[in-house]
C-alpha cells in the first residue's frame, strides 16, 4: 500500500499525517468559500453533475427502499402491532435514517468515485500542476465547487428520496399488503414530525460534505498512473461509506434524544 492511503493504513504515523493533510485541505477549502460567488458558475456546474444527474438513480433506489421497508415492517408487525401503524413506522424510518443514509451511500458510489477519478487523473497527467503554474489555486477551482455542490445537493436529493421512498412504501402497502391508502396516510401523519424531516436533511448535509471531501482528497493525493487512479477511486468510495456510517451514528445520538 502506498504512502497516500492513510485511511486504510492504520499505523499511527500515517494516520496522523493523513488526518493532518485532510484537515489542511478542509481548512483551505473553507477559506476558498470567499470566492463562492465569483466561482458560482463552477458550483452550479457541479450541482448539476452531483445532484441533477443522480436523480434517476435516487428515484429507482428510493422506490425499492420504501417498498422493502413497508414489506419488512408488515412482516415484523404480524401478530404484535396493528397494521394501522405501518405508515408511521415506515415514514419515520425513511425520514430519519433510510433516505439520508442510503442516498449518501449511492451518491458515494456514483459521485465520490467520479470526483476521485477525475481529480486523480488530472493529478497524474500534471493538469493540477499546470493549473498551479498558471496561478490558479486548484482548491478554489476544483475542490471548493465540488464541496459546496455536495453540501447543497445532498439535502435536496435526500428530500426527493424521502418523498419517493414513502410513495414506494405506500404502493407496496396498498397493492401487496392490502392496507387502505387512508389507513397508511393516517398512520404516517400521526407519527410525522417536522423535526424528523429536518434532522434527516441535516445528516444529508454532513454526508454531502464527507463524500465530496473524500473524493477530492483521494483524487488530490493520487500517484502512480492509471492503477493509482483506480486505487484512489476505491479508497474514496470505501472511506466515504465508512465515514458516512460513523457520522450517522454520532449525529443520531446528538439529534434524536431517547
Amino acid at each position: 500500500m502506498d504512502e497516500h492511503s492513510p485511511v486504510f493504513d492504520l499505523r499511527p504515523t500515517t494516520l496522523i499525517s493523513g488526518l493532518g493533510r485532510l484537515s489542511l485541505m478542509l481548512g483551505r477549502t473553507l477559506l476558498a468559500f470567499r470566492y463562492f460567488f465569483s466561482s458560482l458558475h463552477l458550483v452550479v456546474n457541479q450541482m448539476y453533475h452531483i445532484g441533477v444527474k443522480s436523480i434517476w438513480l435516487i428515484m429507482i433506489t428510493s422506490v425499492f427502499t420504501g417498498g422493502v421497508s413497508a414489506w419488512q415492517a408488515a412482516y415484523q408487525f404480524k401478530n404484535y402491532v396493528p397494521i394501522r401503524y405501518l405508515g408511521g413506522a415506515v415514514g419515520k424510518a425513511v425520514l430519519i435514517e433510510l433516505a439520508p443514509v442510503l442516498t449518501a451511500l449511492v451518491i458515494a458510489g456514483r459521485v465520490g468515485a467520479g470526483i476521485a477519478a477525475e481529480i486523480g487523473s488530472m493529478k497524474v497527467t500534471e493538469q493540477i500542476d499546470a493549473m498551479e503554474s498558471m496561478s490558479v489555486d486548484p482548491i478554489r477551482y476544483l475542490v471548493m465547487p465540488r464541496f459546496a455542490a455536495g453540501i447543497i445537493m445532498l439535502p435536496i436529493i435526500t428530500a426527493l428520496a424521502d418523498f419517493i421512498a414513502i410513495f414506494g412504501a405506500l404502493l407496496v402497502a396498498v397493492s401487496l399488503i392490502g392496507v387502505e391508502t387512508e389507513t397508511f396516510m393516517n398512520g404516517f401523519k400521526q407519527l410525522f414530525t417536522l423535526s424528523d424531516f429536518f434532522s434527516g436533511l441535516i445528516k444529508a448535509t454532513a454526508f454531502g460534505a464527507i463524500i465530496s471531501m473524500m473524493g477530492c482528497y483521494h483524487g488530490f493525493f493520487t500517484s502512480g498512473g492509471a492503477q493509482g487512479v483506480g486505487a484512489s477511486t476505491t479508497r474514496a468510495v470505501v472511506s466515504s461509506a465508512v465515514m458516512v456510517l460513523i457520522a450517522d451514528y454520532i449525529m443520531a445520538t446528538l439529534l434524536f434524544r431517547i
Binding site: M122, E126, Q127, D129, A130, S133, M134, S135, D137
Partner: protein, 248 residues
C-alpha cells in the same frame, strides 16, 4: 537572473537532487540533459515552486521563490510559462479554452480579449482552426503545439519546457524545436528545457547542463559538449549502453 543554490531533494529514501548550483542569465536558453529519472523535471518544478526542496534555494531576480508569500508566488508564476511533458492540457476544455485559461482565471481578461489572444497564439504555432476541438481529438504533436501556445499566452519572461519532444516522431519533434527557437527569439525570454533528446538540445540550447546522480556533471555550450572527453557526458550524448553510466 535565475540562481539555484545547493538544491537538495529526496523522495523518501531516494535522493534525487544532491546539491545543484546553477546560474542562468536573462535571455539565455539552457537545456538540462540527463537519464530518465535523474531529476531534470524535479529541478524544473522547483524553479516554479511546485515542489519544495529539503535544502537550498531558487532565487529569481533577487527573490527566493520558496520564501514568497502566497500572493507574491501567484504573481511570480504569472511571469512563467510551462510546457509540461505530456502537454497537461485540461481534457474537459476545448483547445481555445485551454489557451485562454490563465488569461481568464488568473489575469481576469474579458472574453473577447481572451478569444483574440487564443487565436493569435494558435496561429503562431501553426494551429489555426482547431480552437473548438477537444484535446482528445488532436494528435500528440498537435497537443505539444497547443501546450506551447498555452505556455506563451501570457507572454511570460521565463519559459520552462519539460521534455518538449518526448513521444513525437522526428519531423514533429523538429517542428516543435523550430517553434521553441522562434518563440524564444521573438519574445526574448529566458528558457530552461529539460530533455534527453540530443537533437533537440543542440537545436535550442545556448548552454547545455547535464545532471547525473543528482549533481551537475557538465556545463557548457553545444559545441563544447560535442568535443568533450568527459566519459559520462560522452556516453550519454552518443547513446552508448557501455560506459560509466549504468542502467538500473
Amino acid at each position: 537572473m535565475i540562481k539555484v543554490e545547493n538544491l537538495k531533494k529526496s523522495f523518501g529514501r531516494l535522493e534525487v537532487l544532491t546539491g545543484i548550483d546553477l546560474e542562468i542569465q536573462k535571455g539565455e536558453s539552457v537545456v538540462v540533459i540527463g537519464q530518465s529519472g535523474c531529476g531534470k523535471s524535479v529541478l524544473l518544478k522547483h524553479i516554479i515552486a511546485l515542489l519544495r526542496p529539503d535544502e537550498g534555494s531558487v532565487v529569481v531576480d533577487g527573490q527566493n521563490v520558496f520564501e514568497l508569500k502566497h500572493v507574491d508566488l501567484m504573481d511570480f508564476r504569472k511571469r512563467v510559462g510551462v510546457l509540461f511533458q505530456f502537454g497537461a492540457l485540461f481534457d474537459s476544455m476545448t483547445v481555445a479554452e485551454n489557451i485562454g485559461f490563465c488569461l481568464k482565471e488568473s489575469l481576469h481578461m474579458k472574453p473577447q480579449q481572451v478569444k483574440q489572444i487564443a487565436e493569435e497564439k494558435l496561429a503562431l504555432v501553426g494551429m489555426k482552426d482547431v480552437g473548438h476541438k477537444m484535446p482528445s481529438e488532436i494528435s500528440g504533436g498537435m497537443k505539444k503545439r497547443v501546450a506551447l501556445a498555452r505556455a506563451i499566452a501570457t507572454e511570460p519572461d521565463i519559459i520552462l519546457y519539460d521534455e518538449p519532444t518526448t513521444g513525437l516522431d522526428p519531423i514533429s519533434a523538429d517542428m516543435i524545436n523550430e517553434l521553441i527557437v522562434d518563440v524564444n527569439k521573438k519574445l526574448g525570454v529566458t528558457s530552461i528545457a529539460v530533455t534527453h533528446d540530443m537533437a533537440s538540445a543542440y537545436k535550442i540550447a545556448d548552454r547545455i547542463i547535464m545532471l547525473y546522480e543528482g549533481k551537475i556533471v557538465w556545463d557548457g555550450t553545444p559545441d563544447q559538449i560535442r568535443q568533450t572527453d568527459n566519459a559520462i557526458v560522452k556516453q550519454f550524448i552518443t547513446g552508448s549502453s557501455t560506459g560509466p553510466i549504468t542502467v538500473h
